[in-house]
Every structure is written in C-alpha cells, then in structure tokens.
C-alpha cells in the first residue's frame, strides 16, 4: 500500500474520554487487552495517549499506538548496585546522572486483517517525524519496549538496543535517535 492509499482509506484519531473500543484483534492477548481495557485508564491518569488508525468507511480499528513522555538517563556509576550504595549514603551528585528527553512507544499493534502491509513501518515514520517537526518540547529519542518477536522489525527501522542485557527476557528496550533525521 502506498502512503496515498493509506490516506484514502484511513484516518488517525486520538482516543478521547467516552471512546469504547469493542473489537480489536492483533493475535496478541496483551496488545488486545491494552487497547480494549487499559488505554482509557492510562489516558485518564495522563500517563499515555493512544492513537488509532481507523478505516474511514467501516470505523474498524486496524492499528493503534500509545505514547508517553520518557527519558534516557545515563549514570557515571558502573552498576546499579554502586549507584544505590551512593544514594543510601546521600552522596548523590546530580552531575553523575544525566537525562535526555524521549518519547516512549508503550504499545504498537496492527490488527490481523491489516498485517503485512507495512503499516507498522509507516506509523513509526509518522511518530519519528511528528517529534522532530511538530514537537511541543525537546525530544531526542524514541524508546520502545519491544517484544522479542518484534525486534527484527525495529532493527529494520534503525532502532538499536539500549543496553546489553534486559532483566525481562520477553522484551528488549530499544531506541531511535531522532538526531539521525537532521
């Protein structure tokens, strides 16, 4: 599908209070459950905003993504243990912890019916330039907690691993540097 065909067929809508999503199936229970039952809770608590890609004719939701403000923090300490030891002893020096603003993709899912049409890549591209061209505040990185199965998709889209070893083996934290687009 070309970008023009997307425009002809879909609209992008930010979910609002009162939106009740009755149906969505991307073949992953967690991703389905987030949209159907939890996206509204995150919105009401101002923790995440969810956007849906909706068919103009049928109002069927073919994809969605959720965004939250995030940051990437860099420590001068060699390990978490060393950092916590300093914190306990109140030796924290702010200069030893630097943070960079980021936007986090909390969820990104494509319905079974709309898969294999490059919609995921298209949505990533939109999110990336949205925070370069239309950003309301500084934002250097896009972060994502990627399912292991989705890692090849993010690598193909120039995302890198944030660290060498994640505690949760089901997902890996990855990031994209928006300065790559300048």
């Amino acid at each position: 599908m070309t970008r023009e065909e997307y425009q002809e067929r879909f609209r992008i809508r930010r979910l609002s209070p009162g939106d009740n999503i009755a149906e969505f199936d991307c073949a992953d229970e967690d991703l389905n459950d987030f949209l159907l039952n939890e996206s509204g809770l995150y919105r009401n608590a101002l923790l995440a905003v969810t956007y849906v890609l909706e068919d103009k004719k049928t109002a069927q939701i073919d994809a969605y993504f959720s965004l939250s403000n995030d940051k990437v923090s860099i420590s001068d300490f060699e390990s978490k243990t060393e950092f916590n030891r300093f914190r306990k002893n109140k030796f924290v020096n702010e200069k030893r912890l630097r943070s960079y603003p980021a936007i986090k993709i909390g969820r990104l899912a494509i319905s079974k019916a709309a898969q294999h049409q490059s919609i995921g890549t298209y949505l990533l591209e939109f999110i990336e330039d949205y925070f370069v061209v239309d950003n309301k505040s500084g934002c250097r990185f896009v972060t994502v907690d990627a399912y292991v199965d989705a890692i090849p998709f993010y690598i193909k889209n120039n995302y890198q691993f944030l660290n060498n070893d994640d505690e949760d083996k089901r997902t890996r934290v990855m990031y994209f540097d928006l300065a790559s687009l300048l």
């Binding site: 930010r14 860099i74 934290v173």
Partner: protein, 50 residues
Amino acid sequence: MARPIKETPILYGSDARRFEERMKNPPKVSPEKRAQIRKSYEISMKMLVK
C-alpha cells in the same frame, strides 16, 4: 490484564559509555528513507482528526 508500560532503565558502565558515544555520532538514515519518513508524516497530518 495487560502488563504495565515498562520504565526505561538507567544506563550504567559500558552501556552508558556506548550510548553517549553513539549520541555524538548518530547514524544517518539514507536520503531515500528520510524522504519516506517526511512523506509519512505529511500524509499522517492530513489523516489526523483534529
């Protein structure tokens, strides 16, 4: 129940040093990919319900 949105971890040691090195020289996307990203953005802004 969906798992919570996970926090981005603080980087330490070699992870932190590697990240900051990459920040100094961000990998550039190809001109073709850059043009595609811009097109996706422009089309999306027209599709976005205000």
